[in-house]
Symmetry: C2
Subunit: 194 residues, 2 copies
DNA sequence: GAAATTGTAGACCAATCGGGTCGGAAATTC
DNA sequence: GAATTTCCGACCCGATTGGTCTACAATTTC
């Protein structure tokens, strides 16, 4: 290992994989260390606690998501497509991350606060993006909304609404359908009628 | 609940879902009972132990697989397609069941024996099916093999070979490719050259 | 409607698990 | 070869968990 930071990242990536599958509680330090072919105590040389690893993972995943979203939006040009891509990538990501949430909401309210902090920061970012997209579409004459701010908030509310059944109940089939329905709703309510 | 057997099945189905996700060890009785909205001790009225539930689940899944395989083979007519369908369904099933195996191989060699018993019985069934398919294709003039028995065994060996990386390493991407490669290999080596 | 049976669950127990510590052994650096 | 960095086996101790037991609903039987 060349330096400490690099190894921290390696641990983080491994832990992330296991966390995302089993959730926080069911993932053991022994497991993480075994996957890294290291002794359990060695991990403690790089991270102070299991929670610390978890926080690092969440932070990492948040940045990861940010990058993905940026890429997905860059991929297309029209505000419609940008918004569509944004929503798809976002929901897919949350779907994948549902195990983290299961873990967090399990009992330990300690993490809850931490997650909420990241969450609220992320919410603000998201709102800004949505606002921009709505504004952009509006000024290009594709959308027709009075107030970008509140429309953006409304969209965000819908997205948040979709998270709940995603995390708390297990449906595999209709996620895509529901996503498309949401998208149709948004666009049919937002597109300028010809 | 009308009768005991029916409730046993309900428990079994619920447990199956949780086992398949978390594996034997990480699944707790409390979890199973909570999912059933029952007290933990109530479960022990229907099953003697966690292992007993696990065994019932494995048995159930084995029968499930049997049914699926039968259906997949009935779906098509030519021996080629039957064999192709058989292999696809089989490998997909094993992929899904990998968590059970992870659980079993974890440490507890107690289960190992039980699983091996089911396994060997299943292996014999599988061999019979493969033998029949090869024989069928042969007699229809589609295949051209000398010895159905040994050819069937060879195919089974290949299938078993595919299980290993499936369970022990985590690849998502190339499973399909490898499956197709295996199929091509089997058929190109088996089809009568025109 | 009493008695027996079937089903449920809370309190509890013993064993194991698992996060975390510590002292010191390897390995690496200087 | 001393100092520093990295690693780990052994241990600690509180939490978890499979399983038991008893009391007690609910239902069925008589």
């Amino acid at each position: 290992m060349i330096n400490k930071e690099e190894y921290r990242t390696r641990i983080l990536l491994t832990a992330s994989r296991i966390f995302s599958h089993y959730g926080f509680k069911k993932t053991t330090m022994e497991e993480i260390s075994r996957a890294l072919k290291k002794g359990k105590s060695s991990i403690y040389y790089y991270f102070g606690s299991k929670e610390e690893i978890f926080e690092a993972v969440v932070l990492y995943e948040a940045n990861q998501l940010r990058t993905q979203l940026r890429a997905a939006m860059k991929e297309v040009d029209s505000p419609t497509d940008k918004l569509r891509n944004y929503i798809f990538v976002r929901m897919r990501a949350f779907e994948k991350l549902s195990n983290y949430y299961n873990a967090v909401f399990d009992k330990n309210l300690d993490h809850y606060e931490f997650i909420e902090k990241i969450r609220s920061k992320y919410d603000r970012e998201e709102l800004a993006i949505l606002r921009l997209l709505v504004y952009l579409g509006n000024s290009r004459g594709i959308f027709d909304v009075k107030d970008s701010e509140y429309t953006a908030m409304a969209i965000q509310t819908m997205l948040k609404g979709m998270e709940v059944p995603l995390f708390w109940r297990r449906r595999e089939i209709d996620i895509n359908n529901r996503l498309n329905a949401i998208l149709n709703l948004i666009f049919d309510g937002i597109n300028k009628r010809p």
